[in-house]
Every structure is written in C-alpha cells, then in structure tokens.
C-alpha cells in the first residue's frame, strides 16, 4: 500500500539564508569548515536545550555523572535535598576538571591541583590554606563552580541550557514530546531507566552526519541489506511500497515513524492472551483504553526513530547522544534503556535486541560508520559543492509545523536544517 500524499503548498516563511546551508541543499563546507563548527557550538549547543542525562543516573542524593554540553565538560549532580544541578567541570582556581569519573556518589568534588573542594550543589567550601586569601580579594561565594543556568527534565530525561533565557524545555520539545511519551508510557511502571551501560563509538566525520542518518529512512534498504538478508527481515520495509512515514516535527525535531509497517505484527501480538493482559494493565494505569492501545501498538522497541534537535535520538530501545568533538570528529553514546516494572527477562531481551543491530559490532551500526567514512572522503572533491535534500519535496503533507512524507523522503533532514538556519542565520 502506498500512503496518500498530497501536493504541498509553497513553504511559508523562508528561514534566514546561510552561504552553506540553503533551502533544500547543504554545501560540503557545512561538514568541513572549522569556523562554522565553532559557530555551531556557540549558536546551537550553547543556546538550545541539550540532553545531559537521565534521572535514573542520579537517582539518590550524592549521585553524579559526567558528560559534555558541546565540548564543555559538565557534572550532573543530585544534591542532599534532591535538587539536580549541571555544574561546569572546571575548578574556579586553575581550571582543572574537578571530577574525573564517569559516574559515582559523592557530596563533594575536590580539585587535586590545589585542593579546592566544592559541594555537589557547586558551592566552594573554602580554599585550602585560606589565610592566604584576603577578603578584599576573595570570597568563597564568588568562586562557586559555574553552572548551566537552566536545567529541566521531561519524563525523566534531563536537559540543560547554557543560555540564561529563551524558550522553556517544553516549548523546545514541541511535538517530539509525543514520541517521548510513547516511549516512556510503554514501561509497566510508567518510567524508564538507564544503568545497563553504554555502547560508545567514534568516527572521523562531522556530527551532523549522525544526526541526519538516525532519521534517514532512504538508506536502510541499501546500507543494511546484509542485516535484512541474514535476519530474515525483508528490506522491503524501507522500499518504495513501505507504509512508513518520515516527518519533520518542527523546531528541528524529526521522526521515522514505522508504526504502520509494524502494525500487523503488533496487532497479532496484542490479540494474544499476554497482549490482552498487557492492555488491561496499561489501561488501568493510563485510565484510557484507546491511549493504552496506541502505546502498545507503538511497540516502543522499533516503532519510530526520533531526533530531538540537535543531538539526541531515541532509536530502538536506546537513547543515543551525539557529541561533536571537532569538525571532523564525533563521539556517540548509545544507552539502552530498561522498562521499570518489567521482568528481568524482558529487560535482558531488550539488551540482546539492541546489540543485534547497534553498537560498534552490531549488525547495522558499523555499516553506517563505514558510509560516514566514504562521505568524508567524497567531500574532498571540489567543484561539486552541494548535497541536495529535495527528495519528496513535492509529495509532502503539511500538518501545522510538521511535514510528512514517505519513509524514504527527506523531511527529517530539511526540518533539521530549517532549525539550524534559524539558529545559525540569526548570528549573521
């Protein structure tokens, strides 16, 4: 069955122009230019809401984890009163990082360089040998760890913004929140958790290659053919006859929505005794049978690939976080998430399902990285300057801020760059 796709009206409100990103095409320098990369850090990563962790990673007072916002190291902490802080991991004295571990539990962070000690809410306890500091030059209150001025969470996902003002997290998430809801509502207890470790991989290419690829439904039919052939899944899921949809959700967020593709399988599963029991339990919790049915049919393990602009993806049963390290170097964390309230066996099965396709040895992940390598080599060609993003432009459906097309269409990438232009164009 081919989805019904109406001819789109003209695109309203063209965003600001940029020499290297224009309507429906991207210049090769967008992936190669160091100055542009620095601007992206400032205009995108230091301005919008950036995912920094999950509440389950800092569940107890004193819990902390370290991560980065753009390239800046931060510590996500939970203080003794339950408050969550996102502190810059930089001693206010001689700039050394004060926390070296990936995660742990501590009420204090002590810089080993000159012994300054900070509370997990960022306050400086006191400088060491404090008699050497005269109150005229120094107050402890003036040398607390710097912090992200805004921290908020949605359904357990913690975000921070280095900008003191701007839209709220809820405004930023927009319609991406609908998919986060589907993901979290599926867990029997209504919450998900991390804690099963992470796949970590890097590639020598620009961060946007991964942001684009996670919501690119055109490539699986080709890049992942070996997986489809050996796993018994038909590559037709991503062929011209697929019923799946690609969408831009507004504000740079995007989705590949496989739910129609998975519906026959999910309806069969829902009709079993186990499926009906799951439906009863979820209906009781959500108080709405129709919503419970929708959540269960969404599957949650491969119902959709979501991109939360600019660098968070929810794919399969993983939270994927893309870290720009340099214009041509990217690090990626894949955190499999577990369902609170589900049996151990079910959560273990989620890990095995994740490993089958994702990560540095997965059945699909390495093929994407190989393609990024080839893109980077090809981008060295001069004289062929532009990468087009026009696929499905004239068969998309406009739905408020969102635009929908066939699963192989390029609404997700166009939506991503529309937001990119709003943020980057504003600087010019």
């Amino acid at each position: 069955m081919t989805p019904t796709l109406a001819r789109a009206p003209a695109v309203p409100e063209p965003p600001p122009e940029h020499p290297w990103v224009q309507q429906h095409r991207v210049h090769r320098n967008a992936y190669l230019d160091e100055q542009l990369f620095a601007e992206e850090l400032n205009q995108i990563f230091h301005r919008t809401w950036i995912y920094v962790g999950h509440e389950s990673e800092v569940a107890r007072p004193g819990d902390y984890k370290t991560t980065v916002i753009g390239r800046q190291p931060v510590i996500v902490t939970r203080d003794g009163t339950g408050g969550i802080h996102v502190l810059m991991n930089r001693c206010t004295h001689r700039a050394a990082t004060v926390c070296q571990a990936a995660s742990g539990n501590s009420a204090f962070f002590r810089c080993e360089y000159h012994g300054w000690t900070f509370r997990n809410n960022g306050e400086l306890v006191a400088p060491t040998f404090s008699a050497g500091y005269d109150p005229a030059d120094f107050t402890a209150a003036g040398f607390a760890l710097a912090r992200a001025p805004r921290v908020d969470s949605y359904r357990g996902l913690i975000f921070a913004s280095l900008a003191p003002g701007g839209e709220s997290l809820r405004e930023h998430l927009g319609r991406a929140a609908e998919y986060i809801d589907l993901t979290v509502d599926l867990a029997p207890a209504g919450t998900i958790r991390l804690g099963a470790g992470a796949h970590r991989y890097s590639y020598r290419g620009n961060w946007k290659l991964q942001s684009e690829n996670g919501v690119d439904g055109y490539h699986p039919n080709f890049v992942h053919r070996a997986f489809f052939e050996t796993s018994g899944l038909g590559a037709g899921l991503f062929g011209p006859g697929s019923t799946g949809r690609a969408g831009s959700l507004g504000r740079g967020h995007a989705v590949l929505d496989f739910r129609t593709m998975m519906a026959p399988m999910m309806r069969t599963r829902l009709a079993t005794d186990d499926g009906q029991r799951a439906l009863e339990r979820l209906t009781e919790r959500l108080g709405d049978r129709e919503r419970a049915t929708e959540v269960l049919l969404a599957n949650g393990t491969q119902g959709y690939n979501l991109l939360v602009f600019p660098n968070l993806q929810i794919i399969g049963c993983q939270l994927r976080v893309i870290h720009p390290r340099a214009v041509g170097l990217t690090e990626v964390d894949l955190y499999p998430y577990l369902h609170d309230g589900a049996g151990d066996e079910e959560n273990t099965a989620r890990l095995r399902t994740h490993e089958a396709f994702y990560g540095p040895s997965g059945g699909g992940g390495p093929d994407d990285i190989e393609m990024f390598d080839r893109v980077v080599r090809g981008l060295a060609v001069e004289g062929v300057e532009w990468l087009p993003l026009v696929r499905g432009l004239r068969r998309e459906v406009v739905d408020g801020e969102a635009r929908w097309g066939h699963i192989t269409d390029e609404q997700p990438q166009r939506g991503f760059y529309h937001r990119w232009l709003q943020l980057m164009g504003a600087s010019r």
């Binding site: 990936a102 099963a196 470790g197 992470a198 796949h199 970590r200 991989y201 890097s202 590639y203 890049v223 053919r225 070996a226 997986f227 052939e229 050996t230 796993s231 690090e331 990626v332 499999p336 151990d344 959560n347 273990t348 890990l351 095995r352 994740h354 490993e355 089958a356 990560g359 540095p360 040895s361 059945g363 390495p366 093929d367 990285i369 190989e370 393609m371 390598d373």
Partner: protein, 161 residues
C-alpha cells in the same frame, strides 16, 4: 597446587594458536565449528567483567547468532566490502583449575591488529575460554574477549576477535 587438569598447557596453546590461525585466515566456518551447540561468544562493554543479563555487551552471541554474524560478514556488503584483515597475537596462555568436571578454563592475553583500508587499529584484550572435550576435540562453551579499552570510544569492530 592443581591436582587434576583435563588439559595440559601445551594443548591449550595449540588450541588457541590454531583458533587464531582460523580467524586470521578468514576460515570462519571452521572457526564456528569450534563452538559447542550451547557455546557463547561474549565481548563485554564498559568493563572487563559484568553481568551480561543486566549490562549491555559489545557482542553476546549464541552459536546461532554467531552463524548469522558470519553469514553477514561473508556477504561482503558495505563495511565488509573491503574485509578487515586481522592478526591475533596470543600469549600468556594458562590453564586454570578445572572449572567443572568436564570443563576446563583457559586464559590468554591477546594483542589484536586490524587493518581496514588505510586504517590500522590495535586492541589489547584478555581472553577467557571455557572448553569441553568432544569426539572432534575441544569445543568452546564460552569465549570471552575483554578489551582493555572497552570503556573508551571504539572505531568499527566489524570482524571477529
């Protein structure tokens, strides 16, 4: 002092060297035959050791999963279009006390070189085997490859270790 060992160190060395030769020679079908029917191939993530039921792994393959993996690699698509060439340098082979009546534990150190196109990567690893005797010789119940750098960011690991 260990009293009864099913396997002598020289036999363990022969086994892991022959296994390395199969991998480096691309003889993956023969390598798969080394695994027992219920054999497991495990490459932990993030740490040297954790509970694979509760922690994600880089690979946690049953024999069937391993067969699918080999079939996929042998199609020669995308990342395998230019197959990785490997050199498994294995040493420090030791036979640990018998794990169970019919199972022997062997540990070894490995330095693994991978050449993929213009890139050569080196991964040090500790290997642990559980082996059981069978009519065709020793069979692998478990092969665990714990990369020393498994808490770091990896390049592609789309080959066999």
């Amino acid at each position: 002092m260990t009293t009864t060992k099913l396997m002598r160190r020289a036999d363990a060395e022969d086994f892991v060297y022959a296994e390395a030769a199969l991998l480096d020679g691309g003889r993956f079908g023969e390598w798969l035959e080394l695994f027992a029917e219920d054999g497991v191939y495990w490459v932990p993530a993030n740490e040297a050791d954790n509970d694979p039921e509760r922690h994600v792994s880089i690979i946690y393959d049953t024999r069937d999963g391993l067969a699918d993996r080999i079939a996929r690699y042998q199609l020669g698509r995308v990342v395998q279009e230019v197959p990785s060439r490997t050199l498994h340098l294995v040493g420090n082979v030791r036979v640990v006390e018998d794990a169970e009546p019919d199972v022997v534990e062997v540990t070894a150190a490995m330095v693994l070189y991978e050449v993929h196109g213009a890139r050569t990567t080196v991964h040090p690893a500790q290997c642990r085997y559980l082996l059981t005797p069978g009519p065709q010789g020793w069979r692998i119940v478990l092969k665990k490859v714990a990369f020393l750098d498994n808490d770091q960011y990896f390049p592609n690991l789309a080959y066999l270790f």
